[in-house]
């Protein structure tokens, strides 16, 4: 089904527009219908849950609808940019991103004990969000310059490219984002086909560096989060409260859930951050295990569609970039659900497309726009 559409999709949208109809205009655009549909379903599910999680607050709902609309429009706009254009501008984006990160460290706004925001007068902006896309773009661009698997010197160069923004972001300090950006860069490395020995070596080095990070780079509140994760019951009313209440919400949901708007943990304020980072627990409580199966199925559908796009990508840059985008998306999902269900320490990672909040949705949808662009700008190859 999806395959049969591919040949039509290839044609430039300008050709279709000449036929004059509005539907023709839409069809002529570079849109991956499956991906679009999957994301739309997820966004709608997200709104349904947010309605409950926000305590049926329409002001919150309206803000989220506006954000999602902007994000979807941005995705479609990005999808129209041919991948070679993206590749061309990649080093420039990366340079700009680094400058912005330095600017944040120099005169950024302080929020929640960390310097993450850049005040641009009209709105505040988080350069680290931008780097979530720009870093894999840059690494993919760098490795596509030469053939894969990369030679050792180029590999080292790639690692330096990843480490510079990671260190800058970790200094803000925003260890969660730094690790996720490191992971996004790491996935590019993975797709370049470097040997398993090297991958094993990296994991070994990271494991060895962990104590160093623990004692030198991590702030006490970050250490506390990890300790709390390891044993939440030691501090049930303090930092362990989030995890305990979240597990209660999920567990008490059972197979069928307590019903929409009827989650006692969520509706009675026991669950903290319930419309943002912990919204997954609201879904689990109100819709139960069955609801979680449906939600994860939608996520899986989007991820598998992304993997298909990756598989069908035609050059090294697009292959590496799309592969990294898909796996990073999977990691967001895993880290958020893992954290909410007590598998991982609490790091501020929102549930993609569901959690209330602006910046992450925009970044995410730009990434999906790139995926669409990669897929719809393929050249027909002779069979």
């Amino acid at each position: 089904m999806i395959n049969s559409n591919q040949s039509q999709k290839y044609r430039p949208w300008v050709d279709r527009r000449k036929k004059g109809s509005a539907m023709g205009f839409v069809r002529g655009m570079n849109i991956d219908k499956s991906l679009f549909l999957g994301l739309l379903v997820l966004a709608i599910l997200g709104l349904v849950v947010l309605y409950s999680a926000s305590g049926q607050d329409w002001a919150t709902m309206n803000r989220q609808i506006i954000r999602l609309t902007i994000a979807f429009v941005l995705m479609l706009l990005v999808a129209q940019i041919p991948p070679h254009q993206l590749a061309f501008w990649t080093p420039w984006f990366f340079g700009l991103g680094l400058l912005l990160l330095l600017a944040v460290l120099a005169f950024g706004d302080v929020g929640k004990g960390a310097q993450r925001w850049l005040n641009l007068g009209i709105f505040r902006f988080q350069p680290s969000e931008l780097m979530k896309i720009v870093v894999p773009m840059m690494v993919a661009w760098y490795f596509s310059e030469k053939g894969i698997p990369p030679k050792f010197t180029r590999l080292l160069g790639g690692i330096v490219i990843i480490m510079i923004p990671v260190v800058l972001i970790a200094k803000q300090p925003d260890l969660g984002t730094a690790l996720l950006i490191g992971a996004a860069g790491g996935f590019v490395l993975f797709f370049t086909g470097i040997s398993w020995w090297l991958i094993g070596g990296f994991i070994g080095i990271i494991a060895a560096a962990a104590p160093l990070v623990w004692f030198n780079l991590m702030h006490s509140y970050q250490r506390q989060r990890v300790l709390t994760f390891l044993n939440p019951e030691t501090d049930p009313l303090g930092s362990g409260y989030h995890i305990i209440q979240s597990k209660i919400a999920i567990g008490s949901g059972g197979v069928f859930g307590k019903g929409w708007l009827n989650g006692t943990q969520s509706q009675l304020d026991f669950l903290p951050e319930r419309s943002t980072d912990f919204i997954f627990a609201v879904i689990a409580e109100e819709f139960g295990f069955l609801g979680i199966l449906v939600l994860l199925s939608v996520f899986l559908f989007i991820i598998l569609r992304g993997i298909r796009i990756t598989f069908q990508a035609q050059d090294t840059y697009t292959r590496l970039l799309s592969g990294s985008i898909v796996l990073t998306f999977m990691i967001y999902l895993f880290v958020n659900v893992g954290m909410v269900s007590g598998l991982l320490p609490v790091v501020g990672v929102p549930l993609p497309l569901i959690s209330y909040g602006g910046t992450s949705v925009v970044t995410l949808m730009i990434a999906f726009g790139i995926l669409m662009s990669i897929h719809t700008h393929r050249k027909l190859l002779p069979s």
């Binding site: 086909g193 209660i248 059972g254 006692t264 943990q265 295990f289 994860l296 598998l304 893992g338 269900s341």
Partner: protein
Amino acid sequence: MAQFESRITLRDHLRESHLFSNRVIFAVVFVFVLMATLLLRMFSLQVANHEHYTTLSQNNRVSLIPIVPTRGLIYDKNGVVLAQNLPSFTLEITPEKISDMDELLTRLREIVDVTDEDWTRFNKLRNQSAKFKALPLRYRLNQEEVARFSVRQHEFPGVAIEAQLTRHYPMGELGVHALGYVGRINERELKELDAADYNGTTHVGKNGVEKSYEDLLHGDVGFKRVETNAQGRVVRVLEEKRPVPGHHLYLNIDTRVQAAAEAALKNLRGAVVAMDPGTGQIISLVSMPGFDPNTFVNGIETDAFNDLATSKKQPLFNRAIKGRYPPGSTIKPMIGLAGLENDLVHGATSINCNGYFQLKNDDHKYRDWKREGHGDMTLLAAIRESCDVYFYDLSLNLGIDRIYSFMSLFGFGKRTGIDIVGESGGLLPSRTWKRQVKHEMWYPGETLITGIGQGFNLATPLQLAFATSVLANYGLQVIPKLGYALRTPNTDTLNYIEPVIAGKIPIVKKSNWDYIVTSMDRVISSPRGTANHIGRGAQYRIAGKTGTAQVFGIKQGEAYNKEETELHLRDHALFVGFAPVKNPKIAVSVIVENGGSGSATAAPIARKVLDSYLLQNNPS
């Protein structure tokens, strides 16, 4: 652009594609492993451990709020309210509804008296409580303050007057030693009371029937199962179990008799116990002076309490059940009966009284109260005129062992078992007692003075009333009871508290008992009787016995003061009796501390008590 493409063509496309496809396959495996991990985790939380987390979730949101039952009322036998629950008004403020607390205080002070202490306590409470909880600022508003606030309530959003029920004793001091009072639960009581049942209850019976009938008066606590949010605010009520209010308690006390007895004892120290001999019902239980129980309900102020506790008149001391007095001549009828039943004397036996009695080989003269002596005395005359010499002689013949066992039958030396706590058992001396306690042998002289109710003998006014009842009853021992009946709230049926018969004294010859009753009748009806004056104008016949008990020595710790000491050394005045002589309806004991002679002081009080009961109960 051309350069870009040419560079691509230089590469080994096939090898790159193959390598990449390989990695994509690994990526798919990776994705499925992560997804499976999440699903397993969810399964473990939501399916395997569902019940555990459901319990935790329930505990989170559901809490129990106790609803305190309404304490049962206390009535007298005729339905006169002795203890009730009245609303008491508290001014409460809900902090979250107030924008400027200081300004509010200034405005409130215009209409209600708020002390700085109130304000400090309120602010302390405010720091510890959730904002949406109403907190008390002022307790016990008076009617005027309530009225002033009510008129201007609309100016004070977030401020309200709450009414709680507080125990109130409308009769004040009347019957306080029978009734007792409630007070705030103290730490010791908190440990002893059933925590579940007293959840939310602030007051508990401290004394009297308020204490002894606590379980029935209290009722059963109810509860509200409520859903609360994380801050503790009640969202909705899930389940409500109404509390079961306490039973209403009816006492055998007749308020009119009680009032008459208290009036008769006014400004005196003493006690009156009146009971129905056939049923054991306590008609009045008086210990004077008394005190106002209402001052104890919400915590008496320290100064006021110290005044009561250290007063020489001992108003807090329940003389009726705790006061131990030498019974004096009031026991002579029973000693006489012991002589008759033991076949030692007969109605016709007479003894010459020349004013004193002497033991063989002993110079000591045991004097009669009448120095010149009574002359020839039968038992009847000895009781009528309270001749000591006759009873010295009889006691000597009886011996202490027979006196002890016979007097025991009338309840001396042990508690009567009345339904309030704190009763004293008095003291009935015996050889065994003296050996164990005094480590001495028993002397014959002690038998003599025991026989006239002096010496070691001690009895409470309640014991005297009980013993008189047993005598009036021809040996039937009915345990004295204050409780008459219980009534379940909102019903009309009274559940009577049945009389409890402790036993029956085996009667050797009924004519012996008749003889003693007649002798006691003569105390009042004969012109030579010691209480003849109280029988004048009576519409019924009274049997009785006066007593005048000597008070020995000066109490420890008291300074020597002629006026005071003399007063304290004056004899206790006693009287016991029952009426009507045939088919007795009331037995009474009266003690007036340092009242002088029983005949002059105690007997007239008894008459007033008898009148108030017998005449009012027979209006026809």
